[in-house]
């Protein structure tokens, strides 16, 4: 679900930055009011856990598409919505800045789509009501955890997928029409998020059995007696479980860990752009676009190519210019290369 820069117009990207920035500001304020510096390593291990989890692509049967977990519900169930949101930001920033996964301009939108809904909508509207609600209190805790995790993942990430479509459409960069895009995105994400919900539930039930006080809202009688060590250990174990156990389990999947920290966009776009033959036949406003083009194009303009000298001239000048620039680039490469070699030789001499 990581969006690339090329999907978003600068205006939409800036708006999403503002929205995510506001949510982050509120979260930071809450975190500071809690004043628990020892919570930061816990957040880091949890974030690493989600990062490791996102390495693993599971295939969705019958679609040829694959997906990876998102982790918003998992983090907010372990850390609470505010710290969970900040941890998700850390995951997305590292993916964006150090692995070029998810665009730099699209970071705001990615935080909104993947972190905001999971951590806030998923937590306040689904997780907490199910865990604390009177109606379900007769069910065993692990059943409630499963229900909340599955439902939370599905609802929050359907909202995220819808946002991807809306942001793309508002940007108006691709010609993909809104209706078919929604029709592709939502069903495929329903399947992916059902699997994510089950994985999240398995992890959370495991954590609950080992250290019940770690799960938010799971047990009101639990005090704040947990030691930092225990928290770190449990989270690291779950991380290892997700990162190691499941990746081995999923070893038949060509993506898996082989994705190797760099390729997990593949999944994102297989979902985002999942090719749908039906979408090909959709009408386009080609004539309108063509008219607009005549005004705006600067390279290879107007189809009056054959009988319009000025258009021909501009086009040819573009081609000639490109060739000249490419030639200069080639020449400069040689020159740069020459000086690099000489510098290296010079340094070797000095040594």
């Amino acid at each position: 679900m990581h969006m690339a820069d090329v999907l978003l117009s600068p205006g939409v990207a800036a708006t999403m930055y503002a929205a995510s920035g506001t949510a982050a500001g509120v979260s930071i304020n809450r975190l500071r009011r809690e004043n628990e510096p020892e919570k930061l390593p816990v957040m880091a291990v949890s974030a690493a856990m989600v990062f490791a989890g996102q390495m693993i692509n599971y295939t969705i049967p019958g679609t040829g598409s694959s997906g990876h977990i998102c982790g918003g519900i998992l983090l907010s169930a372990l850390l609470g919505p505010y710290a969970g949101f900040l941890s998700m930001i850390a995951v997305l920033v590292v993916q964006c800045l150090f692995f070029a996964d998810g665009g730099l301009l699209a970071l705001g939108a990615n935080i909104w789509n993947m972190a905001f809904y999971g951590c806030f909508v998923g937590y306040f509207l689904i997780w907490r009501p199910i865990m604390k609600g009177k109606a379900l209190s007769s069910l065993p805790v692990s059943a409630r955890i499963t229900a909340a995790a599955v439902l939370g993942c599905i609802v929050s990430l359907q909202l995220g997928a819808l946002s991807v479509v809306i942001e793309t459409s508002l940007s108006g960069i691709t010609d993909l029409p809104f209706g078919p895009f929604v029709g592709v995105m939502l069903p495929i994400h329903l399947a992916i998020r059902l699997v994510e919900g089950l994985i999240t539930a398995a992890v959370l039930v495991f954590v609950y059995k080992a250290r019940p006080e770690l799960i938010k809202d799971a047990d009101e009688s639990a005090g704040n007696s947990m030691s930092l060590k225990a928290v770190l250990c449990i989270l690291a174990v779950v991380t290892l479980f997700v990162g190691g156990g499941l990746s081995l389990y999923a070893s038949g999947n060509p993506d898996g860990l082989e994705w190797a920290l760099f390729g997990n966009r593949e999944a994102g776009y297989a979902e985002n752009m999942a090719l749908d033959e039906e979408a090909f036949g959709v009408e386009s406003s080609a004539a309108e676009t063509a008219a607009q083009v005549q005004e705006t194009t600067s390279f290879l303009p107007d189809y009056a190519f054959k009988d319009n000298d000025s258009a021909l001239g501009t086009t040819v000048s573009g081609v000639v210019g490109s060739v000249v620039v490419a030639g200069c680039a080639l020449l400069l490469s040689c020159i740069f290369g020459f000086f690099r070699k000489r510098n290296a030789a010079g340094r070797a001499d000095v040594n």
């Binding site: 090329v6 964006c96 060590k229 250990c233 991380t239 190691g244 038949g252 966009r265 959709v282 600067s298």
Partner: protein
């Protein structure tokens, strides 16, 4: 080499690139980050049919590849999973927008193909710019720059810690899966009956590891926030870098350089 070790290997490769020593590596992370953001924003703002304008923006990654000495093929290799997806973004344009804008011989080229080419070029340029930032800047330098940009200390600390944990965890996974597969040759994945003991092992090992990590952080004086040296700031040469690139990018955006050069030769 198993999958986890492979992942770790690629992670280390990126670290090694970032630890290199070239003129680009030596500029401050803040300057590079700002230039990258400006560059990507400006590149994305080109019109959907302005191919010559977008192609001219390749000057920036081109110069940086040259100055840093990082081969372009490394970028292609590292981004091998992402590049097909960039092509995906515009794949519908040629199908939906079939008006021909030029006929070469008898083959018509549609506006859809033109806008597809522009989208692909934009995507590649954005990816190259992001890759160059990642490959020429160490993570602590980027985090120091983020602090300079007033990103809250809490988030920056979590980013740094997480980055350290990830390699530790991946390494641990590699060791454990190796051990498992040596004892279960030819088996695909972990048998469900062994999950209990596998998890038990994981529990013990990672308990030790997490305790050691956090204790050693405390022993080295960690108190809730990392300290940064003066290198986060911008010296004169960093300002020069920032201003020069801003000027070049502005020039490329506002002047149709390719056509001007072409006209000179006609």
């Amino acid at each position: 080499m198993n999958r986890a070790e492979n992942a770790l290997y690629e992670l280390n490769e990126m670290d090694e690139l970032a630890n290199g020593n070239s003129p680009v590596h030596r500029f401050s992370a803040l300057a590079k980050l700002l230039v990258t953001v400006i560059y990507i924003a400006v590149t994305m703002s080109f019109d959907r049919y302005d191919l010559s304008g977008v192609l001219m923006m390749a000057v920036y990654p081109y110069v940086l590849f040259q100055l840093s000495g990082i081969p372009f093929r490394t970028c292609i290799y590292k981004m091998r999973y992402i590049i097909p997806l960039i092509a995906f973004v515009g794949i519908f344009n040629p199908l939906l927008d079939r008006t021909a804008f030029v006929t070469i011989g008898r083959v018509p080229l549609s506006y859809g193909w033109l806008s597809f080419a522009v989208l692909f070029a934009k995507g590649m340029l954005a990816i190259s710019a992001s890759f160059l930032l990642a490959a020429t800047t160490r993570i602590d330098a980027v985090c120091a720059a983020l602090r300079k940009l007033r990103m809250p200390a809490e988030i920056v600390t979590v980013i740094l810690l997480m980055y350290r944990y990830v390699s530790v965890l991946v390494e641990e996974v590699g060791v454990m899966s190796n051990a498992y597969h040596l004892r279960a040759p030819g088996q695909k994945g972990i048998h469900y009956s062994a999950w209990g003991s596998f998890l038990g092992q994981l529990l013990l090992r990672s308990m030790d590891r997490a305790q050691e990590l956090y204790a050693s952080m405390l022993l080295r004086g960690y108190h809730g926030e990392f300290l940064y040296t003066a290198e986060a700031g911008m010296a004169g040469r960093d300002w020069m870098y920032l201003l020069t690139w801003t000027a070049v990018i502005a020039l490329l955006r506002s002047v149709p350089v390719i056509q001007i050069i072409g006209n000179l030769f006609m």
